[in-house]
Subunit: 149 residues, 2 copies
DNA sequence: GGCAATCGTATTGTGCGCAATTGAATTAGG
DNA sequence: CCTAATTCAATTGCGCACAATACGATTGCC
């Protein structure tokens, strides 16, 4: 039988990456359950909190590497939960600006300890975290640089 | 205004991990489009090809860190595409064994170059790949070790 | 001004992920 | 035996991801 060593499960980098991302997301989901946010909703709020002015859908997408097909329903759920308001830009009516509400701001201190709680006790040394961060950023650069199709 | 430096987007490790995993998966999806496999279907086939004997649903799930709620529909699609057959275990009728068909075996050489094609040109040095692999495995160990709830 | 090309968002359709539940089959305890 | 607990897969329901498409708003170009 012909072998394909490059297809062995243990030879793959994509699989640990895929599994680790899902595992970490699951931990965040558990930690966020109390405030009623999913992980994508949480990172969306992070992006909005980070900005000085209300972001458009596209600007949120840039920061999270997500497109409107994913973000629109996420933002609608955040809006119906009362954490954000979506408002058409008066100048360019193609744009929709996302404003964080009072209730959305109140969420911020409630989730402030989530990253710490998730990463702590996972046994990853601080040096490893830095290393991992560096390598993932390098990988993202490579993804952005090389052709998408 | 009160600041939460630990919530800044650039301070997060989860986001690059999340974005990198989706980015890599997207590249695989593009490379696999020709043979009609999605990324989860592809890694499922990898797991089945790797094993000497037909695996149960649970055994596939162990290797991929996925549960039956995800795998059952994936396996059904692979079956209706003719790549696998699902058969109840005669000894323990709770188990379903997944057998790779002739057509499923024929897929193997067709996707043999996919990992190489995806990773090449992404600008990641071989040493970085090894490092990343090591750190992700360490992270997965931490995920498995620490409590899920 | 008129009109084609582009842009920004929304919609649609398919396919995951995962928690929770169900239900059948097996195992364990008495 | 016979019942209780456990195991395994399937199902259900919800929320992403993303490609493809649609559509109104805007911009460029004449």
């Amino acid at each position: 039988m012909v072998d394909f060593p490059q297809l062995e499960l243990d030879a793959q980098l994509c699989l640990p990456l895929y599994a680790a991302a899902r595992g970490v997301t699951r931990r965040y989901a558990e930690a966020l359950g109390g405030v009623g946010l999913t992980y994508p909703q949480y990172v969306t709020m992070l992006a909005l909190w980070d900005a000085d002015a209300p972001l458009t859908v596209g600007e949120v997408g840039e920061r999270l590497h997500l497109d409107s097909g994913t973000l629109t329903p996420v933002l609608k759920r955040l809006e119906s939960a009362g954490f954000v308001v979506r408002r058409r830009d008066a100048v360019d009516e193609r744009r929709v600006r996302i404003e964080v509400t009072e209730r959305g701001e109140e969420l911020r201190p409630k989730v402030a300890d989530v990253p710490e709680r998730v990463w702590h006790g996972m046994g990853l040394a601080p040096a490893d975290v830095v290393q991992l961060r560096t390598l993932l950023d390098r990988l993202l650069l490579g993804l952005d640089a090389s052709p998408s199709a």
